[in-house]
């Protein structure tokens, strides 16, 4: 794939992260404000709340998207840094392969966990 498409995906993931991290911060760290507004009723970090969020399709999809965006955005940046330290064509191929394998492995693991949480 051409680098411009990979770079565009990097930007899209960055924008997606901005949205999802805002959501995460709102739900997990500013819950007291949400409680004041009456949007949440019980402690957001209790087991039942966490399980409830993971059980719904919207929660599972949000988790997977957040994981995918963060993985792609972070690993693309890591690939760029490593590619400057070791810039021979052979090293670049090795870095590309390593980043793809690691990213896919973590994504598959994350999707599995999210699917299991949805069945709880």
């Amino acid at each position: 794939m051409r680098e411009s498409r990979l770079w565009a995906l990097h930007l899209i993931c960055g924008a997606g992260l901005l949205v999802l991290l805002s959501l995460h911060m709102g739900v997990m760290h500013y819950a007291s404000i949400l409680a004041l507004l009456g949007w949440v009723r019980e402690p957001v970090l209790s087991f039942s709340s966490v399980a409830e969020r993971g059980r719904g399709a919207a929660g599972a999809v949000t988790y997977v998207l957040l994981l995918g965006f963060a993985l792609y955005h972070g690993l693309y940046g890591l690939r760029g840094i490593l590619g400057e330290i070791w810039s021979t064509p052979k090293a670049v191929r090795f870095i590309n392969a390593g980043v793809v394998i690691f990213g896919l492995a973590v994504l598959v693991y994350g999707v599995t966990v999210a699917a299991q949480a949805a069945r709880l």
């Binding site: 680098e3 411009s4 770079w7 565009a8 810039s87 021979t88 670049v92």
Partner: protein
């Protein structure tokens, strides 16, 4: 910090030059000379003074001596500059001169520019069009407005002196990086309304070692002795890779000659009548 051993007040300059002879030296070694400062003296003048009066073995490259040819690029007091375009009065009493960074040195201050030129060739630095018949056997000119010319004209001022590549921090760490000179020239042709070669050039520059390797440090634009802004060209080139060249369609040949136009053959004046005396 270097100890000041020269004195511009007394009209004496200390030149500390990185000497390197590949047949004798494993690495560059510094050598100092003192030179009498003359009004308007440039670093290139000072090097000539050393070569003519003190050490004829000092090697450096130059040609026009007026900041046009780009041959005398050197690393002067920590910055890539043209030696002919740098007054010694701007530099203090000690001037340190070394060959351009990010280049191999052939000898003393002579950088090996073959990599710069090969990268320049690799990006297809010429007009590319689909109407090859008109290109190969032109019948008329291609139409271009002053506004279309303004989009790329600053990038045509590139001297290929390689100062931008010497200043580039990405080129210092990433050997495969094409560098600001070559990438800037890609945009020079992509932005030219007569050109249709973006797709072909994208095959070369749309890569991690191409346009997307740039960190936008801007050191290239700061180093350019002609005021070209390669960092801007690289950012505009990124945009072109997504949305196409700035012109919507390639310029056509001039549709018709203006009224009253005469071809050069027809415009030849008839011979004057013989004097009637």
């Amino acid at each position: 910090m270097a100890k000041l051993t020269g004195d511009t007040e007394s009209g004496v300059l200390t030149l500390r030059v990185a000497r390197y002879n590949p047949e004798q030296d494993e690495a560059a070694r510094p050598q100092e000379w003192k030179v009498k400062i003359l009004p308007g003296m440039t670093v290139l003048d000072a090097l000539f003074a050393i070569k003519e009066e003190q050490d004829g073995s000092l090697a450096f490259r130059c040609s026009c001596r007026m900041g046009v040819c780009g041959s005398c690029g050197m690393f002067i007091n920590g910055k890539p500059r043209l030696a002919c375009n740098t007054q010694v009065s701007e530099l203090g009493s000690v001037v340190e001169v070394a060959p351009l960074p990010n280049h191999d040195a052939i000898k003393d201050l002579v950088p090996d520019l073959s990599l710069t030129f090969s990268r320049h060739r690799a990006v297809l630095p010429y007009l590319m069009r689909r109407d090859t018949a008109e290109m190969e056997s032109p019948t008329r000119e291609y139409h271009q407005t002053p506004e279309e010319l303004a989009r790329y004209v600053q990038f045509t001022y590139c001297l290929k002196c390689s100062l931008c590549l010497a200043a580039c921090p990405t080129a210092a760490t990433k050997e495969q990086f094409l560098g600001p000179q070559a990438l800037g020239q890609v945009y020079r042709y992509v932005a030219d309304s007569r050109d249709e070669g973006l797709a072909e050039r994208a095959g070369v520059v749309d890569a991690s070692h191409g346009v997307f390797g740039c960190h936008l440090a801007g050191a290239c634009s700061e180093a350019c002795p002609k005021g070209v802004d390669p960092a801007l060209a690289i950012q505009l080139l990124k945009r072109s890779l997504f949305s196409g060249p700035p012109h919507r369609s390639a310029a056509q040949v001039v549709p018709a000659f203006p009224e009253g136009h005469q071809t050069p053959e027809a415009a030849v004046r008839p011979k004057a009548p013989p004097p009637s005396v």
